[in-house]
C-alpha cells in the first residue's frame, strides 16, 4: 500500500542520489540539497495535517519483514513530537545551506554527506523498533565524521579521532545492549516495549547501562565533553557545525523513546549519579563559556546547558509524570531551540569571516552590518528566552516541573541559564560596540535582500510560535 511516511522518508535519499550524479566543482549538488531540504519541509508540513494530535503513540505506521530467519520486522511511524523535531532539523539544515559560503557550495562530497545525514535523521526519528533505531543511530556517525573531516577545518586531528572513537564506543555499547535484549525477547521489538522486558537485575543493569551510556556519548557530559566541545568550537563551516550540534538531540531523543513509559528499575538507583553529572556539566560548561572569548564556544555552552535541561526534564520526570503535555512543551522548546541555534551559528560564522577578510577586531563588528545586527540581536533575544517565541513559556513550564521534582536541581538549572544568557547578551553588545566603528570606515557585505527575506521569514516562524507553537498546521 502507498504510504505517505515511506515517501516522506525517501525524499532525502532520492535527493542524495541526484547529488551523487551532479557535476563536481559546481553548485548543482548544492541546489539539489537546497531543493531536497525545502521539499522535506513541505512534506513534513503535509504530514502534520495527517497526524492526530490527541492520538497515542506512533501513527502512519508501516512495517516490512527484513530478515525472515531472525524474525526482524522493521517498523516505522511518526508522532507529533518526532515530526516536530524533524521539521526543526530540516529548517536547521535549510538555514545551514543558506548560510554556506560560496566556496563550500561547490563541495559535492559535503552535499552528499549532508543529504545522507538528512535521510538518516529522518529514519532515526521515524524508527519505531529496536533494530531500525539502532541502524539509523549508528549510521549517522560515518557521514558526520566524513563531513567534519572533509570540511570542518579541524586543526587537532587527534581530537577528531577521539571524537569518533568516543561515539563509536557508544554505538558498540548500544549494540551489546540490544543483543542481550534479543536473548530475552527472541527477536526485534518496538521501542516502547523495551522498558517492559523482564531481565535479571544484573543483566538489566548491563543492558540499561549500555543504552544510557550510548545515548550519553552523544551529549557533552563532563568529563567527556572535551571532544565534542573542541570539535564544535573549531568548525568553521556552518552546515557542519549545525549537523555536529544536532548529535546531542539524537541522544536526548533516545532517552525520550526508551524511557517514555517508565524508567527501568535496574537504572533507578543510578539516576541521581546521572543527574549530578548533568548539573556539574552545566555549571562547568557555563563558567568555561563565560571565560572563553569565542562566541561559538559560548554558543556551544548555551546549547549544552539547554540540552542538559531537556535531558534532566526527560530523565527525572519519566520517573514520576512525563505527561504528554509536558513532553510537547519540551518538543516546542526544542523546535525553537534548534532553529535559533542554527541561525546564530550561520550569522556568527559570517561575522567571523567578514572580520577576518577586513582584518578588524571581532569587537564592534556588528556595527558595520546593521541588517545582520538586527537579525542577530533578535535571535540572541530569543535564545536567552525572552517572550518573542514559544520557547519562553515552554521553558517556564519545564523549569517549573524541575523545581517540582527538586528545588536544588531547579535552582542549578536556573543559575546556569541565567549565566549563559548574560554571557550571550554581553557578547552581543561587545559585537555592537561602536568605539572601533568611528575609526574604521570599511564597506562590509551585509545581508543581501534574499538572505534578509529568508531570515525574516525564520523570525516570523519563531514569533508566531509565541501565540501558537503549531500555527503552521492546518
Amino acid at each position: 500500500m502507498f504510504n505517505l511516511l515511506f515517501v516522506f522518508m525517501m525524499v532525502p535519499l532520492i535527493g542524495c542520489m541526484f547529488a551523487i550524479m551532479a557535476k563536481r566543482n559546481d553548485s548543482n549538488a548544492y541546489f539539489v540539497s537546497l531543493f531536497t531540504t525545502f521539499s522535506a519541509i513541505i512534506a513534513s508540513l503535509l504530514l502534520f495535517s495527517r497526524i492526530n494530535y490527541i492520538g497515542d503513540g506512533m501513527q502512519l505506521k508501516y512495517s516490512f519483514l527484513w530478515l525472515e530467519s531472525m524474525n526482524i520486522i522493521l517498523t516505522f511511524g511518526m508522532d507529533i513530537f518526532s515530526l516536530l523535531m524533524l521539521l526543526g532539523i530540516y529548517i536547521s539544515f535549510a538555514i545551514g545551506l543558506v548560510g554556506l559560503p560560496e566556496a563550500d557550495r561547490k563541495n559535492k562530497t559535503l552535499q552528499v554527506m549532508i543529504l545522507l545525514l538528512l535521510w538518516l535523521f529522518t529514519g532515526f526519528f521515524a524508527a519505531d523498533d529496536l533494530v531500525s533505531f539502532y541502524i539509523f543511530f549508528a549510521g549517522m556517525l560515518i557521514p558526520l565524521y566524513m563531513a567534519i573531516g572533509l570540511d570542518g577545518n579541524i586543526r587537532k586531528k587527534s581530537t577528531l579521532y577521539l571524537f569518533f572513537l568516543y561515539n563509536f564506543a557508544g554505538i558498540l555499547l548500544l549494540l551489546f545492549a540490544i543483543m542481550i535484549a534479543f536473548r530475552f525477547y527472541h527477536g526485534n521489538m518496538l521501542l516502547r516495549e523495551f522498558s517492559l522486558i523482564k531481565m535479571p537485575m544484573k543483566v538489566g543493569l548491563f543492558v540499561w547501562g549500555g543504552v544510557c551510556l550510548s545515548f550519553i556519548s552523544r551529549i557533552p557530559i563532563w568529563p567527556f565533553h572535551y571532544w565534542i566541545s573542541s570539535i564544535s568550537s573549531g568548525i568553521k563551516n556552518p552546515l557542519v557545525y549545525i549537523v555536529t550540534n544536532l548529535m546531542p538531540l539524537t541522544g536526548l531523543y533516545g532517552f525520550i523513546r526508551f524511557w517514555q513509559s517508565a524508567i527501568a528499575d535496574s537504572m533507578r538507583a543510578y539516576v541521581p549519579i546521572m543527574v549530578a553529572f548533568c548539573l556539574l556539566t552545566m555549571l562547568f560548561i557555563v563558567l568555561t563559556g563565560i571565560a572563553r572569548k569565542q562566541f561559538l564556544y559560548k554558543l556551544f555552552s548555551y546549547m549544552t546547558v539547554y540540552y542538559l535541561m531537556f535531558l534532566l526534564a526527560v530523565v527525572l520526570l519519566s520517573s514520576i509524570f512525563l505527561t504528554d503535555t509536558l513532553l510537547m512543551n519540551i518538543g516546542y522548546a526544542l523546535f525553537i531551540f534548534l532553529i535559533v541555534n542554527s541561525s546564530l551559528v550561520v550569522l556568527d560564522l559570517r561575522l567571523e569571516r567578514e572580520s577576518a577578510i577586513h582584518k578588524i577586531e571581532y569587537k564592534g563588528v556588528l556595527a558595520y552590518m546593521p541588517k545582520l545586527a538586527a537579525v542577530f540581536a533578535y535571535f540572541v533575544l530569543i535564545a536567552i528566552g525572552l517572550p518573542i517565541s514559544s520557547m519562553f513559556w515552554n521553558n517556564f513550564i519545564i523549569i517549573s516541573a524541575l523545581f517540582n521534582f527538586s528545588f536544588f536541581i531547579g535552582l542549578v538549572v536556573m543559575v546556569a541559564i541565567l549565566m549563559i544568557s548574560i554571557a550571550l547578551l554581553y557578547e552581543l553588545y561587545l559585537m555592537r560596540d561602536l568605539q572601533t566603528y568611528a575609526t574604521n570606515n570599511i564597506e562590509f557585505s551585509d545581508l543581501t535582500r534574499s538572505e534578509q527575506a529568508f531570515f525574516i521569514s525564520i523570525i516570523l516562524i519563531l514569533f508566531l510560535s509565541f501565540f501558537n507553537p503549531l500555527w503552521f498546521v492546518f
Binding site: 563558567l287 528566552g385 513559556w393 517556564f396 523545581f403 517540582n404 561602536l434
Partner: protein, 563 residues
C-alpha cells in the same frame, strides 16, 4: 473597556510604526497624538462609568492548566493605568512638539507598545501573561534608549532581575500547580522556600527600581538624551517593578525578611540618592538619583498602605513627572547643557520661560507636599517629612541656577533655540493644565502643604549645601564610576576567573594533557610491545613467555574462584 482601549492603543502603535518621510513625520505624530487622546477620553469616560468587565481567552495549555489572556476592567485597574497613560500621552505630545527623534512616529509606536505591555501587566491574572508583558517592557526599553553603550549594563542587570522573577514564578507554579495569580496564597499552605521566594522577588524589584547596590543599570543611562532617560525612569523597568510588587507583596510579606529588607533597602536608597544627587555635577545623574530616591519613597508609602493604589499615589506620581518635565524645560533652555556648573554660568536668557518653569516647579512642590500631608494623615509616620526635607534640599541644589534670574545681571546665553514660540507655549500650557488638575483637592490649609514649597524657594537663594558645588570640580569624584568598578570586581571578574581556572585545570591539564596524552602514550606503548613481539629477538620471546604466564595465572585464579 480596558481591553478595548488596549486593542486601540495596539492598533495605533502599529499605525505609528510605519515609517513616514521627514516631511510628514510631525503631521503623522500629531495624528497619533489625536488618536491616543481620543482613546484616553474614551478610557476616562469608561473609568467614570465604573463597572467590571473581564475579557478572557485561552492562549495555550500547560500541565498546570490553561494559559489565558485576561484583561480585567475594574475601578482599581483604571486607577492604576491612569498615571502611566497620562505620562505616555505627554511624552508623545512632547515628542511631537520638540525635535526629539529622527523618526518621531516610530518612537511614539514604542511608547504605545510599552503602555500596552504595562496594561497587560496590570490586568494580568496569570503568570505567563505577567511575565510576557514584563519581558516586553524590558525589550521595548532597548528601543527607547537606542544607545548600545548606555543600555549594556541596564539590560544585563535587568535580565538578572527578569530571571529572578521568572524563577520565583516557576517555583510558585510548581507548588500550587496553577498559573492563576489569585491563587498564590496557596503557596503559604504548601510551604517551603518562602523566604527564598520573598528575597529573590524583592531582589528583582530592587534591581528594576535601581535601589542602592543595583543602581548601576539605571545610572548607565546618563549617556542618553534626557527625554529618553525620563521615559525609562517613569515607564519602563521601575514602573514594571512597582506592578510586580503590588501583585506579589501579599505572598512575599509572609516571609520574616520581607519588611526589614524592603525598609532597609528603601532607606539606604533614599540616603544614597540624596547624597549622589547633591554631589554630582552631571544634570542627568542628578535626575537619575533623584528619581531613584522618589521610587524608594513611593515603595515605602505603598507599603504603609498595604500596596493598595489610591488617587494620592496617582497624584504623587504625576506631580513628580511634571516636576521632571519642568526640569527638562530648564535643561532645554540651557542649550541642553548637562553640567550644572556650566548651567550656572549661563542662565536662561528667556526670562518668561524661566519664570514659568520656576512657577511650575514650585506648584509641583506644593502638590507633592500636599499629597504627602494627605498620606501622612492616614499613617502618622513622621519620617515621611524626613524624606520631604531631603527632597527639598536635593531639588534646591539642582534648581539653584533659577535664582540667578533674580540676583544680578549675568552674561546671558544667546537665544539659540530653533523651536518656534508657539510650540514652546504648547509645552508649558500642557504642564500648567496637568498642574492645575493635580492641585485640585489638596489640603491647602495645612502648613506642611506650603512649608516645603517656601523652604524650596528660600533654599534656592540661600542653600546650606552650597559647599557641595566645590565637589563639582573634583574630576576624580565626578568621573569615577564606582558602581561599574564594583560590578566588575564582584560580579564579572570572579566568574571569568573561575571559568578560566576550570578550563585550564580540567580541559587543558586533566583531559588534554592527562587523558588524551595518556591514551596516546598507551597506544604507542602497545604498538611498541606488539612490534617487539614480532621481532625475532630474545626480548620478544621473553615478552611472549611473560604474557602467556600472566594469562595462565589469570585463568588459574579465575578457575579457583568458580570452583
Amino acid at each position: 473597556m480596558i481591553a478595548y482601549t488596549t486593542a486601540l492603543l495596539f492598533l495605533i502603535g502599529i499605525f505609528a510604526s510605519f515609517r513616514v518621510s521627514v516631511r510628514f513625520d510631525r503631521l503623522a505624530s500629531f495624528m497619533v497624538c489625536l488618536l491616543v487622546g481620543a482613546t484616553f477620553w474614551g478610557f476616562e469616560q469608561a473609568a467614570l462609568e465604573g463597572g467590571e468587565e473581564i475579557l478572557s481567552f485561552m492562549w495555550n495549555s500547560s500541565p498546570s492548566g490553561d494559559i489565558k489572556i485576561d484583561i480585567i476592567s475594574n475601578a482599581y485597574n483604571y486607577g492604576l493605568i491612569l498615571p502611566f497613560f497620562v505620562i505616555t500621552i505627554v511624552f508623545i505630545i512632547n515628542n511631537t512638539i520638540f525635535r526629539y527623534e529622527e523618526s518621531r512616529n516610530n518612537h511614539n509606536a514604542v511608547l504605545l507598545f510599552n503602555l500596552v505591555a504595562l496594561i497587560m501587566m496590570i490586568t494580568s491574572n496569570n503568570f505567563v501573561q505577567l511575565l510576557s508583558a514584563l519581558f516586553m517592557v524590558d525589550i521595548l526599553a532597548l528601543f527607547i534608549v537606542k544607545d548600545v553603550e548606555a543600555y549594556r549594563r541596564y539590560i544585563l542587570i535587568n535580565i538578572v532581575a527578569d530571571m529572578l522573577i521568572f524563577m520565583v514564578l516557576t517555583l510558585i507554579n510548581c507548588r500550587v500547580d496553577t498559573l492563576d495569580i489569585g491563587e498564590i496564597l496557596l503557596y503559604k499552605k504548601e510551604g517551603g522556600y518562602l523566604d527564598f521566594i520573598a528575597v529573590s522577588g524583592l531582589l528583582s524589584v530592587f534591581i528594576k527600581l535601581g535601589y542602592w547596590g543595583f543602581q548601576v543599570g539605571l545610572y548607565g543611562l546618563r549617556r542618553v538624551r534626557l527625554h529618553r532617560l525620563q521615559e525609562v525612569l517613569f515607564l519602563s523597568s521601575p514602573a514594571a517593578a512597582i506592578i510586580i510588587l503590588m501583585k506579589f507583596h501579599i505572598l512575599w510579606r509572609s516571609s520574616f525578611y520581607y519588611v526589614p529588607l524592603l525598609c532597609v533597602m528603601s532607606i539606604l536608597t533614599i540616603i544614597w540618592g540624596f547624597v549622589a544627587s547633591v554631589i554630582y555635577n552631571d544634570y542627568k545623574s542628578k535626575i537619575i538619583y533623584w528619581q531613584l530616591m522618589f521610587w524608594a519613597l513611593f515603595v515605602v508609602l505603598l507599603n504603609f498602605y498595604g500596596f493598595v493604589w489610591s488617587e494620592n499615589f496617582t497624584r504623587l506620581l504625576l506631580a513628580m513627572f511634571v516636576l521632571q518635565l519642568a526640569l527638562y524645560g530648564l535643561y532645554f533652555y540651557m542649550r541642553r547643557r548637562s553640567q550644572v556648573i556650566k548651567m550656572m554660568l549661563h542662565p536662561i536668557s528667556n526670562k518668561g520661560a524661566a519664570y514659568t518653569i520656576g512657577t511650575i516647579v514650585t506648584a509641583m512642590f506644593v502638590t507633592i507636599s500636599g499629597t504627602l500631608t494627605l498620606l501622612y494623615n492616614n499613617t502618622n509616620r513622621y519620617y515621611i517629612w524626613l524624606f520631604g526635607i531631603l527632597f527639598t534640599f536635593t531639588l534646591s541644589t539642582t534648581c539653584r541656577q533659577l535664582h540667578f534670574l533674580f540676583k544680578k545681571k549675568m552674561k546671558y546665553e544667546v537665544e539659540a533655540q530653533s523651536q518656534s514660540q508657539s510650540y514652546k507655549t504648547l509645552f508649558f500650557a500642557i504642564l500648567i493644565v496637568i498642574s492645575y488638575v493635580l492641585s485640585l483637592g489638596l489640603p491647602y490649609l495645612k502648613p506642611t502643604t506650603w512649608g516645603f514649597a517656601l523652604a524650596f524657594v528660600v533654599l534656592c537663594f540661600k542653600n546650606p549645601l552650597a559647599f557641595t558645588y566645590k565637589l563639582y570640580k573634583k574630576q576624580n569624584l565626578q568621573n569615577n564610576d564606582w558602581g561599574g568598578h564594583l560590578y566588575r570586581l564582584f560580579a564579572l571578574r570572579p566568574l571569568v576567573f573561575a571559568g578560566r581556572c576550570l578550563f585550564v585545570v580540567f580541559d587543558r591539564i586533566v583531559i588534554e594533557k592527562g587523558i588524551i596524552s595518556l591514551s596516546v602514550s598507551c597506544g604507542r606503548c602497545a604498538l611498541r610491545i606488539f612490534r617487539k613481539l614480532h621481532n625475532s629477538r630474545i626480548i620478544g620471546s621473553i615478552l611472549v613467555i611473560i604474557l602467556l604466564i600472566a594469562l595462565l595465572y589469570a585463568s588459574f585464579v579465575q578457575g579457583e574462584r568458580h570452583v
